[in-house]
Amino acid sequence: MKKGHKGLKLIIMAVTLLFFYLPIIHTIIFSFNESKSLSKFTGFSLQWYEKMFHNRDMMMSVFYTILIAVLATLISTVIGTITAIGLSRSRKIVKALVSQVNDMPVMNPDIVTAIGLLMFFSVLGLRKGFMTMLAAHVMFCIPYVILSVTPKLRSLDPNLLDAAMDLGCTPMQALIKVIVPQISSGILSGALIAFTMSFDDFVISYFVTGNGVNNISIMAYTMTKRINPSINALTTLIVVIITIALTFVNIISYVSEKKKRRKV
């Protein structure tokens, strides 16, 4: 009876993982396809990799995706952290107000946020492109940074800052040398969320960009009209990079775990 249960569990998890990974495996396989078809494998070739590197639009979209993700992460992490620290010492009504406003982009469907920004930028007469896309990304990233930093601040001793200043720190020094190190795990996870949100964003970017500034998602979307298997090659490269990064992180944590055990 128990064995049967275990078998059933294994089958369910295997089917689940197959479901989630099938499109990725499919993408990887067809990045090596000889023909343009996305459903029939006709033979092995590396031509889509070669074409990918020669496709200027595609390389530019990768560049913009990374540049905007890095900038949006940096800006939103700094502003989000400072705001979260400020909020932890603000009056209740200010806290409530900011968290209400922050909930809007988190809870609204992306398309609603997107059309609001589109109209806002147009009404201001701004040229849609890199700057509007970056501003939009910063806007939807900050609430996530605040959300992940705030709980860390709450568990902090409120006297810490005063103690640091009593011992001769300027407020700025107290902030950087005392508060920030204490909440660094919250800042880091906020930055990670911001990066992935920005890197993967499609809907908001699609509505607020213009003048040929595209990210990977927008390019993939416009590609549905004319099939270009180079996008499969690009995805395969991203999968490889993520796999390497994950393995690396795992090895590091494995090694540090071993070191800890040895000390004990």
């Binding site: 993408t27 109209m119 009404v123 993967d200 499609f202």
Partner: protein
């Protein structure tokens, strides 16, 4: 230290939302200065059976997607929560990793898989079935949505199941409950909050999605998100587009209120009724 962000949020978050309200209730024309109050945008929507059927289809697809995600997500989350700590962390990671890869590309891959010459039909041909037309059907669109949103449901349900105090289950067993009864009377009611937040995270993107129907449903397949997209990016009718997104927002708010109401009815003090 807070004020710079308050100014930024007022400008970048609040004003765009107010613009949607403004445009929804004013007559056509993209100039803010010359607006005239009107309800025509809403009249246009509710008097046209085409738009109403689009809303109906969007709701139908979103509800079906959400129900499937609950039915699939619950057992999966349950299995993960009941695994040992190490393997449940690994399983969660395995489910999260695919979401790091571009959504558009992963959804697009289903086109190849579901195609008449794709691997699913290839597999079916051994049983003498097909080729079945999967693409450009409700099935493909729901599959694309379940594929994209199921991880949210699994993680939400897992979180509540993981927090569940196992002593409750021992207590239930001591009081003579079978494992199945304990699940029905203890575990399930206590995990309702996770199901509810999972429903929010699935229903919301499902009802507003526009790229999944476009990629898997084809150009003729229209949900409310697609109408909003075309009003802004091709038709250039901001007023009607804003009204549509307000209608969608109201539909979402009503659905969420209904879900919460059912949650409270089922689970006033952790009681489960059928």
């Amino acid at each position: 230290m807070v004020y710079p962000y308050i100014v930024w949020a007022a400008v970048m978050i609040v004003i765009p939302m107010l613009l949607i309200l403004l445009y929804a209730f004013t007559a056509k024309g993209n100039s803010v200065r010359a607006f005239v109050f009107t309800l025509d945008n809403f009249k246009k929507f509710f008097s046209d059976p085409v738009f109403l059927s689009v809303l109906e289809r969007s709701l139908y697809i979103a509800v079906v997607t959400t129900v499937i995600c609950v039915l699939l997500g619950y057992p999966i989350a349950y299995i993960i929560a009941r695994s040992s700590n190490i393997s449940s962390a690994r399983l969660l990671l395995l489910i999260t990793i695919p979401t790091w890869i571009n959504t558009l590309v992963r959804t697009y891959a289903w086109r190849g898989i579901l195609d008449k010459t794709g691997i699913i039909n290839y597999g079916l041909s051994f049983f003498g079935i097909g080729p079945v037309k999967f693409l450009e059907t409700n099935f493909a669109v729901v599959l694309g949505m379940v594929y994209n949103f199921l991880p949210f449901m699994i993680i939400q349900i897992y979180n509540t199941l993981n927090k569940l105090d196992e002593n409750y289950l021992y207590a239930a067993a001591d009081l003579g409950a079978t494992k199945f009864q304990a699940f029905l009377k203890v575990t399930l009611p206590l995990s309702v909050p996770g199901i509810v937040s999972g429903i929010t995270l699935v229903f919301l993107p499902a009802v507003s999605s526009f790229f999944i129907p476009k990629l898997l449903g084809g150009g003729q397949y229209v949900l409310i998100g697609n109408v909003i997209e075309s009003q802004f990016l091709t038709a250039g009718n901001w007023n009607f587009g804003s009204a549509l997104s307000l209608i969608m927002a109201v539909v979402i708010i009503i659905s969420m209120a209904v879900t919460r109401h059912i949650d409270k009815k089922i689970n006033p003090e952790g009681e489960y009724e059928d």
